[in-house]
């Protein structure tokens, strides 16, 4: 076999096993050795050493088994070095032999990704560390990609992940599915971590990847996995429906120049119908609930009304306004009120929208989106000079990026 195709095969096999088995492999390592601070590095090293070996020797019969073996051996080496330094080397062998072997195949009694999900979003970790660790632990998303998602330098994210792993080890966080008493709080923690990653993926950003398609895809996978691993959990189902419905619109959210395309202007033929159908199907399973789960359910409901409208003009604005009203009652969030105002304007005209907007404006002084929405509604109402002033105010407050370019484009369009 020529060297070139052996390399292609090795890379393909490795990509596949990382994509499909990373979480199970890492979970098995942590279950066996109990060292979240070391296990992930050892698995990453095993992955890094696999390409060379597999190009030379051929892809092993069980790529996952190969990685499990190499990672486990590396981890044992580290434990032995630690133990030698502490004069306790005799404890290492017995410590490991007494533990169960990792199970790799699906269909095992326990899926090791489940305790991993709870470990990565552990309440002993800072909330901002949990989404990063969830993506890294459960899916094996590279740290550089996670750094790009949260718009921080890679070394900063690497340090954050390292600190979080060390804390899990130091505080003695359990690798286990939480006890029944703690389960509702802990599932909420997991859902909040995934939701933070989701909102980061949908924040407007610079560069060619203006809508962070790959990071949003990782978040969608994580939400789906959570809802599959803990079936019948409203907060996971609601989150999964929301993320699936948003992600189905990914191809239409940016134009060829990397500019944001507003929902009303998106080419709906580029939305993924099958994913929208699956998001709606999940949503139908969930009853109205409370708290964080209900907030996500209402958001998913709004996304579903948008995603199932054949054209922008067909949108069921009355239903969307009702959902925003409930969401606003639940959260009291001025940002929700802002979106509520937009929906009211669509349903009952710009003047009604402006009335709802006023309360949000008082709660969000100095926020560019308040001015941007007011500008848009004033324009529609035919108050051109007031609209122009509002756009200028929005532009003065908006940070540099695609949103600012969009606002400048709107102001320029008014002049003509």
């Amino acid at each position: 076999m020529p060297q070139g195709s052996a390399a292609v095969l090795a890379h393909e096999a490795l990509e596949q096993v990382v994509r499909e088995d990373w979480g199970r492999l890492l979970g098995a390592l942590i279950r066996r050795h109990g060292r979240p601070d070391l296990a992930e590095d050892c698995l990453a090293e095993a992955v890094a050493s696999a390409v060379d070996q597999w190009v030379r020797m051929g892809v092993p019969t069980s790529p996952a088994g190969w990685l499990a073996h190499v990672a486990s051996r590396r981890l044992l080496d580290v434990l032995r070095r630690e133990a030698t330094a502490a004069g306790k080397v005799h404890l290492v062998a017995s410590h490991v032999e007494g533990r169960p072997q990792p199970e790799l195949g699906p269909g095992g009694q326990v899926d090791d990704r489940l305790p991993l999900l709870f470990l990565a979003a552990h309440p002993a970790l800072a909330p901002e560390a949990r989404p990063a660790l969830s993506l890294r632990f459960v899916l094996g998303v590279p740290t550089a990609d996670i750094a790009a998602l949260f718009m921080v330098p890679t070394p900063t994210m690497a340090a954050r992940v390292t600190r979080a792993k060390k804390r899990l080890r130091d505080i003695g966080a359990a690798f286990a599915v939480p006890a029944a008493e703690a389960l509702p709080e802990r599932t909420d923690d997991v859902a909040r971590a995934i939701y933070l990653a989701f909102t980061a993926a949908y924040a407007p950003r610079e560069g060619a990847d203006v809508v962070a398609v790959s990071a949003a895809g990782d978040t969608a996978r994580l939400a789906r996995l959570a809802s599959e691993l803990v079936p019948g959990t409203p907060v996971f189902d609601a989150l999964c429906a929301l993320v699936t419905l948003q992600h189905a619109r990914r191809e239409a959210r940016a134009d060829a120049d990397g500019g944001l395309v507003r929902l009303a202007d998106q080419d709906r033929s580029r939305w993924h119908r099958d994913e929208i159908d699956s998001g709606v199907a999940i949503l139908r399973r969930i009853e109205p609930t409370t708290g964080f789960a209900e907030e996500r359910r209402l958001q998913a409901l709004i996304a579903a009304f948008h995603a199932t409208a054949a054209t922008a003009a067909d949108t069921d604005w009355a239903a969307i306004v009702r959902a925003y009203q409930r969401l606003e009652e639940l959260t009291g969030s001025p940002v929700v009120r802002l979106n509520h105002a937009v929906a009211v304007a669509e349903l009952s005209g710009p003047l009604q929208g402006l009335r709802v907007l006023q309360a949000a404006a008082d709660q969000l002084p100095g926020h560019h989106r308040v001015h941007a929405v007011r500008a848009e509604l004033l324009w529609r109402e035919g108050q051109i000079s007031a609209a122009r002033e509002a756009y200028k105010a929005a532009i003065a407050l908006c940070p540099d990026g695609p949103e600012l370019r969009h606002l400048r484009g709107r102001l320029a369009a008014m002049a003509t």
């Binding site: 003695g172 966080a173 286990a176 006890a179 008493e181």
Partner: protein, 116 residues
């Protein structure tokens, strides 16, 4: 692992002095419940546990240039409210937190010890 659990604040509980004797009895019962839950759980053991006297009874000992002094405070803020402590052997934090739910709803600080 070994954990020091410090009971540092009343949290959701009324101050002891504001409780009726029934309420005080219920509160004491919860300490007993915690003790029983720890005994029943495999791998968990209460190694030590005491209620502490008020800070007015306490002394701060300092050594400066070889000279020992004893003073009445000042105490670190957390220690002002330290009403008692446990030293518990537990397999992990999550198990410990689950068991600590049996105690009165005090604020607690949990610190793992270092294994040397």
């Amino acid at each position: 692992m070994k954990y020091l659990v410090m009971l540092i604040g009343d949290g959701d509980e009324k101050p002891w002095g504001d409780m009726s004797s029934d309420e005080q009895g219920e509160l004491m019962q919860r300490f007993g419940d915690f003790d029983a839950a720890c005994t029943a759980r495999e791998g968990v053991q209460i190694l030590a546990g005491e209620a502490l006297d008020a800070p007015s009874s306490a002394a701060v000992m300092r050594t400066r240039e070889g000279k020992v002094s004893l003073t009445e405070g000042p105490f670190a803020e957390a220690l002002e409210g330290l009403g008692g402590f446990y030293l518990v052997e537990a397999p992990d934090l999550d198990t410990l937190v689950e068991l600590l739910r049996a105690l009165p709803r005090y604020d607690m600080q949990i610190v793992p010890t270092i294994d040397v």
